[in-house]
Symmetry: C2
Subunit: 315 residues, 2 copies
């Protein structure tokens, strides 16, 4: 796949960061998003701040989903709550050979995208701290690495599959986005789910930065409960999480002490959150599998109420 056309579906922080990095490195990228960001980007380019450096990246942007048809590689970067709607809108336009990468939180997006499209769909685990403080303006504050892999249920282990993964990884890596290929991408998806479930809701409900979480024993305790509950649910679904998953979870706050979660950012902006696909997903799976998940369930319910209260803004 030399020099593929790339379409990015969803011009939020994740889409703008990875689309911007590829465009900056010379790849032909089109962002497909909501009119607010699209208009700003068409007017001023993508304002791209990473650390102390601010650039203006010239990149195509449109609200028209049909342009996805000219892409060989699609970065699917909408929020998990918009997955079905966006995948359904994308489906009639996709070239049959196009590869769709899901750069999303949650563990069931690939399955949900596949229910709408016949294309090859692969998950990508995103570890980045980025936000859109204004239309067309991206602020990247940390991380960026990706992990990519083929899901077990469709994995062929043949030469062409291996080459495709390597080409995608090379494309990103050459653009300054270190990308690892994982043979156990399902486990990576669940590890990311654990981190999201342990941090996102608590950050949204308290407005607190990650560094403060782990300084408080009571919070470390409920974070540990969140992880333990997910380990049980994952195991019942045939996923064995690493033995050191609690330590890995706590470690994130040391690496990103001044971070607020994407869920907290959504709440502050009065936008719907992904909570149904994070702690809410764990709670629903726990219910179905008869595994108690009281702490995930509580965090999901509280975040849902907070979200609805903010959306209405009338208490």
């Amino acid at each position: 796949m030399p020099g593929p056309n790339v379409a990015v579906v969803g011009a939020g922080a994740v889409g703008c960061y990875y689309g911007g990095m590829l465009a900056r490195a010379g790849t032909n990228v089109t962002l497909i998003g909501r009119s607010r960001h699209v208009e700003a980007i068409n007017r001023n380019g993508l304002l791209f701040k990473s650390g102390d450096v601010e650039e203006r990246i010239s990149i195509a942007a449109t609200t028209d989903m049909a342009v996805v048809g000219s892409a060989q590689l699609v970065l699917f970067c909408v929020k998990s709550l918009d997955t079905d709607e966006a995948a359904r809108a994308m489906a009639p336009h996709l070239a049959p050979a196009a590869v769709v990468l899901s750069l999303q939180n949650g563990v069931d997006n690939v399955e949900r995208i596949r229910s709408h499209v016949k294309n090859q769909v692969m998950p990508v685990i995103v570890y980045t701290a980025a936000q859109m403080p204004a239309a067309g303006r991206l602020e990247h504050t940390g991380g960026g690495n990706l992990v990519i892999g083929q899901m077990n249920d469709v994995r062929t282990n043949d030469e062409s599959e291996r080459r495709l993964l390597e080409e995608i990884a090379a494309l990103f890596t050459a653009a300054g986005v270190p990308t690892k290929i994982s043979e156990t991408i399902e486990v990576e998806l669940w590890v990311k789910l654990v981190l999201n479930c342990a941090y996102n809701a608590i950050s949204a409900l308290t407005g607190s930065l990650y560094g403060r979480f782990i300084a408080m024993p009571e919070i470390r305790r409920i974070m540990t409960d969140v992880v333990d509950e997910i380990v049980q649910v994952a195991q019942a679904k045939g996923i064995r999480l690493p033995d050191n998953i609690v330590e890995t979870t706590m470690k994130l706050a040391e690496v990103l002490p001044r971070t607020r979660s994407s869920t907290a950012q959504d709440i502050m902006k009065g936008k719907p959150t992904e909570i149904d696909h994070l702690n809410g997903y764990v709670a629903r799976q726990g219910e179905a599998l008869e595994i108690p998940t009281p702490v995930n369930r509580t965090l999901a319910a509280l975040t849902k109420l907070l979200e609805q209260t903010k959306l209405d803004s009338s208490g």
Copy 2:
């Protein structure tokens, strides 16, 4: 006890409401509180708004705990987190025959007050919605009834005890505060604890009004868990909560749909909350009794983090 001198320790919403009602009815009342409220009350009287009616009640106010010495009846109305400090400060000044009434949330205040004073101390259950929107200004929006009773561990059932309870109840009732005497005041204390634990933290964490809680099945579910956990803990401590306690709990939101909890008010004002004496108390007792209380524990931890975040105001 005809026409007792009454001292109110703690000039917050509860102290100002009940002190104000007694003063309004002609009882000799002195409020003892922090300088901010005391100065405002000495300057302008107590501004007392109940429903649509606003009055200015002339009432003595001081920061000097020593004046508690001239009271036959003391309304102890500080937040549960200030119980030990206030009781210790009050102890050397109390007249030996003075009766102390604890008008506080939580179930262990009487025991904690008694550890500092030798006087008779009785609990009073407060059902009122009131707040202090500014110094010296009380706003009463609903309820007001009291329930009083002698604790089992010191109950004599003799004539003088019965008469004392009836005189106190009559004093309040004559002042427009309907007051019931309960033979099972411990159960009443735990019922109030249940209501506080089911509403206060959720209100503080989400900023939502009570009416919205019970409209959301996920929230009703965690409220039910909160209640069930407390029923178990109470039972292990020899308290049998009423069979319809879950219904009673849900009912409160129908009666007070537009209410925010005192914990939410504390958070909004950047003040410490009583959470350690509400869900935090349940969690600690559960721990000691080896009864799982994950939902109470989660609510306590989150509220504690929210409180510390707001107190620091730096995230």
